[in-house]
Structure formats: C-alpha cells, structure tokens
Point group: C2
Amino acid sequence: MALIVQKYGGTSVADADKIKNVARRIAATKDKGNEVVVVVSAMGDNTDKLLKLAYQVTKRPDDRELDLLLSTGEVVSSTLLAMALEEMGYEAISLTGGQAGIRTDAAYSQARIQRIDPERVVSELDKGNIVIVAGFQGITEGMDITTLGRGGSDTTAVALAASLAAEVCQIYTDVEGVYTADPKLAPEAKKLDEISYEEMLEMASYGAKVMHPRAVELGELFHISILVASSFTDNPGTLIHGGGSMEVRNKVRGIAHDLDVAKITVVGVPDRPGIAAAIFVPLAKANINVDTIVQNASINNITDLTFTVAKSQLDKAMAVVGPICQSIGAREYVSDAKMGKVSIIGTGMQNNPGFAARMFSALSEQGINIQLISTSEIRITCIIDEARVKDAVQALHRAFELEIEE
Amino acid sequence: MALIVQKYGGTSVADADKIKNVARRIAATKDKGNEVVVVVSAMGDNTDKLLKLAYQVTKRPDDRELDLLLSTGEVVSSTLLAMALEEMGYEAISLTGGQAGIRTDAAYSQARIQRIDPERVVSELDKGNIVIVAGFQGITEGMDITTLGRGGSDTTAVALAASLAAEVCQIYTDVEGVYTADPKLAPEAKKLDEISYEEMLEMASYGAKVMHPRAVELGELFHISILVASSFTDNPGTLIHGGGSMEVRNKVRGIAHDLDVAKITVVGVPDRPGIAAAIFVPLAKANINVDTIVQNASINNITDLTFTVAKSQLDKAMAVVGPICQSIGAREYVSDAKMGKVSIIGTGMQNNPGFAARMFSALSEQGINIQLISTSEIRITCIIDEARVKDAVQALHRAFELEIEE
C-alpha cells in the first residue's frame, strides 16, 4: 500500500461530467490499495469569473480580499469531487487549504508555504477517507486565507507529497506529459518518458507550460518523484525524478520556447561599478521580473546593456528605465516588443561546446538572426525575432535528432 | 458613537451595481460616526447555482460537503462588498464565519450557534475597519465549516449584535418592513412602524416571509432591537422590539397567511392514551415538521386526528402514517394537499373573545369554510381551502380595520 498524491488541473474538473471522470480515476487508484490525497484546482474559468466580479466593484482589488475571494474556487471543486466519490460509494472528505494545515506567510497573492501541519490529513486517511485538498491556498498564523500565486496548485500537491512522505506526486493535466518541444510548433515532437528535475526546471522556466518551475524545485528539494500525465487518457506520462538513476547523457533533451518576450536596450552606458544595480534594483522594486540580461564588452568605457521582460511588463519597465537613463548618463534606451526565446536543454551540455555550435549553425541555416545569447549548465537560450520562433524550434528539433526514439 | 450591525440579503447584493449600492449605504452609516459590522448573504441565485452543481454530481450530497460548498457563496459576496467599500476610500475587511468566531455544533445544514468569540471582529473594529462577516455559516470545534439552515444570515446578524452588545441590528431586505398583511394579497396593507417580538414571531411563524422566526427569537432572548427595512429606499422600516414600551393594545396587528399547507386526517382512531405519541413520535424521527394538530372530541371512544405539514413533506408523511394507522387500529387516513392558513395576530387577544367571533364571521360572510382552528395567546389561525386564502386575507384586513392609520 502506497500513499499517492494526485493533482488535477482546472480543465480536468471544468464541469460535472469531468469531475465524475476524475472521481473514477481516483477510485481506480484507491482500488489498487493505495491511500490517496488529491489536490484540485478551481473549475475551468471559475477563477476568471471571480476576478471579473472583483474588477466590476473596484479598479484595484485589495490583495487580502482578492485571495479570500479566489480561494472559494478551489473549495467549490474540492467539495464537488468529494461528493462525486461518495456517490460512487467511496469514503471521501474535502479540506480547505487551512484545514489541511497549509501554513503560509502573509504575502497575499503570492504566499509561500512555511510549513504543513498534516495531522488532519493523516487522521482522515487513517479513517479510510480519500482526502481532497483545495489547491492554490493556505492560511496564515492569524487565520487569514492566502493564495500561492502562479503554479499554486502544483506547489500544494508537491508540498503535501513531501510532508506526507508520499511515494509519488502525480500531476494530471490536459497534456500527455513533457515533450521534446511544443507539439503545436513541432508536430514531430516526442513525449519524454522521464526527465531530471534540473532539465524540467529549465524546460519550465524557459517556456514549457506543463508545470510551474516552483513546484519542480520543491520536488527536487524534497526528492519527490513527479509524474506529469493526462487526466483524459491512460497513457503513461513523463516522470520527473532525481539524477540518481541518470548518467550525464550529453544529449539535448528538449527545445523550450517562449513568445512572451520584450527586449529593452540601454545604449551608451558609462561602464563603472554600480551601473547594473542602478538599473535593476529599481526594476525589482517595481515588481518587474527581468529575465535574460546581457552586457556587451565595453569600448572606451561605454557599453550597451540589454535585458528582456514579459511583454505585459514592457510599458511599466520603460517608465522605470527612463529616469534612470538620465541619471546614469546613458545615451538612449530602446525597446522591441516582438521578441521570442528558444532554448536547448540537456544535462552535460556545458562539457561539450559542440552543442552551442550546432544550435547556432541550425539557426543560421534558416537565416534566423540571434540577438542575445544566455547559457546555464544545462541550457543554451537564444533571443530571436518572434516571427521566427516556430522555424527555430523545428530546425533545432531536427538538428538534435529529437524525433528519433531514444 | 454607536455600534450597529447591518444585514443585507441576497437580492440586495445580486450583482456588482447592487453591491456598490449597499457599500454606499454602509458608508453613510459609518460617516455618521458609527462602528459598523455587516452580515451579508450570497449573491442572488448563487446558492441555487451551487446546489445545482452538487446535484449534477450526486443524487444525495453529503451534508458536510454541501455546507462547505454553500459557505463559499457568502465568502464571495463578503469579499466583493469589502472591495467596494475600499474603492470608496473606506477601511474594510471581510471575515468568514469561522474567522468572525461563529462557533456552532456539527449539525451540518442546520447548525446552531453555540457561542461567538468576537475577538477578531472587535480588534478589526478597533483598527477603524468596517467589518463584513459572511452570513449563514460557522465553524465547529474541529474547524469544519457549517451552515445555519433557513434564516441563517438573519441569525448570524442578531447573534453578532448580541455578542457585540450592538445598539441595533438592521435587517435590510427587498421589502419595506413588516406589513399588516402581504401587500400582494391585500393591496391596502399598511407598513407597521413597530411590532413586538412576540407578534413578529407569530407573524414570521405563520407565513410572513420578511424574517425567520429563529432570528426574532434570538433578538427577544438577548433584547436586541431589530429594524427591518428596504436596502433600495430610505424609508424607515419596522422596528421589532421588546414589550417594555408597549401596552397591551387589544388590537389585531397583522394578518399572516401561508399557502404551503397540506392536511392529513387519521379517521376512526380508538381514543386511548398513547395514540398521539404513536403517530407523532415516528413523524418527528422522520424529520417531518408537523404544524397545527387538532383532535376532535371523541364519540364512543372513537376520534379523528388531523394535522398539517408542508406540501413538500406530504408524501413522506403519508408513508410514515400508513403503517402506524394499521398498528393503532385506525379506520383510514386521508390527505388534502390544497390547503392554506390565515392567522390574525396581536397582543392581548386571549383576553377578548370578540376577536375570534369577528374572525369567524368575516370568513363566513365570504362563504369560506374553516377546516381547522388553532390558537395561541396572541394568534388565531384557521386552516381553509388554498383557493380562498386571498379572499380571507382581504376580508380579515377589512374586518379588523388594518387599513386605518393607528
């Protein structure tokens, strides 16, 4: 008998029929003799409906009130799922994040889990219950309700799996698993059977929408194996796990891409200590998430500094950068909102310069101009024109022979 | 500076514009220098929508799960109301029933308030906040969410008013107050400026839908003055208060009516001790609410026993009564689902037999047949044909001159 944590996303519980379908899958897991804890997201577009209501009464909803409002979405889907299981003759109980002991800080809308008090979940499991936990939410020491921000329900699931020492955390969603590239862009993309935490983290951070990097990180930290699979089929999915069983394969595992990229270049910056801080500290204070940063080698102590942000944050970022440019004596600052990002990801890449060469050649053969390059130990990312991202993903998929069975 | 508890019903917060309207009314109360605690119901038909979802996944929703599901409705309206107040520049905070310290027993779907721990509400008032409390809900010692059943939000409001020693509890709804009769049936009905708890209790119990008797009872118990008024106008409403300021007026105050009445008669019952218990104990165990009971004087030790139930409970009641009739040796049992109830209500009635005579004459003049009669100290009720209820209400309204200013 194993303890299994499952998570079902919003599209998997979008209506009563889909909830019943999920209940059947949970029941099958229970029937195999497992203890089951289920984390569930809000039904389909319920969160959007609640947000719309909030913006009908106020231009700027208070974070605390908004969290309490949005938290109701996951409570609704949790109770309905428990009812569907009971209708099938299974013992089930739904718990709010607070009841499940998910204790967070008070950073409303982006709360971090501080600890989990699993007593209630454990006692309900001991009674033979399937335990349904409302995802995406927690409770502060002061008993206020918080939400965990993006990737929240995945994070709830992995954190619960860690605190309960579950055998595996299964993330059920509307895709079949992690692919070598987005099948919408590269139809020949193949599903991966397994992937390491590090690789998945880079895939997730660089545009693969399957899972939020935050939950992957937590899985790595607590050594929780995470299975990503479809809630609509019985296909095996992709197992995200530790490197223990893996060798350094010197192989590109996947191509990630991101179309939500805007570029800002500060031109003609006097190259002296403190310049980077002068630019990026105010951006951080304005809650603007800066992604890739590249600084050119300086000529005559004058350099250019380029960075990328999400398109939705470009206007806000430009408003912050303007006054800074003046104060640091930069010549000008320019932006381009039509950028994209392609990355190749795989362990052991740093040891083999051949990967970078192959990537740049493949893009060059397609006449794709590389505007920025950034690398990590297991990733090489190129910022290119938005319009060429699809071509780039396909070219790289071919160049690294990802369509061929391992 | 007074502490005022206000309650707004579902129709008063049915959409964003109505929520903003309620926020303006609350703000006006705050502007007069009062501390304000607001109890709010779920938006319009939100509870019905949630119930529909539940019945889409199960034929018999579990009470605990259903309570947790339905409790989200009041959380949604509370948070939106707090946001609307903040948008207007007022400090406000919404609290769930649990956060507001509404502690109940674990009788899901019909929980009773055991006590209120008002610390959080008081501390938020001390910070200058308008405190919005989700109505209709509470929390058990085990931290499970309960709902209070019918009249729940009114009960939350009066209980909070009692525990906070509020000056008044204002129940805002979609009617102007308590009327001498239902204006839909008797267009000449007049709004009462004030009414005693006892009279209101009889009015509410005997069909006036303005307020649930449970909340009136609580008001009487804790000496909380309750104002019932419209949330859509600035008219003064009706004040429900203690008898201290009232003399026994020997006057009929109002006509109540109820169309949800079914009658069951057990015919030819051997009149011996224990017969009533043999019938009514099993009905109580089956959770069937028996209203008026009348037993005819027995002839040759054989009697008839008639009682009324809500129409929705008639089938269930007949199924219970069937086997009992056989075991007690009754001749037969018959039912009539098309009954109605009219009552005249007023303090001091018992001292003056003239009221009953006037009531029966008025009905007789209309050719209305009285099938059952039941009385209390301040009420006389007649069970009549459903089709004649409207005529009866109008005739009684005229007979007791309720259209004339006091």
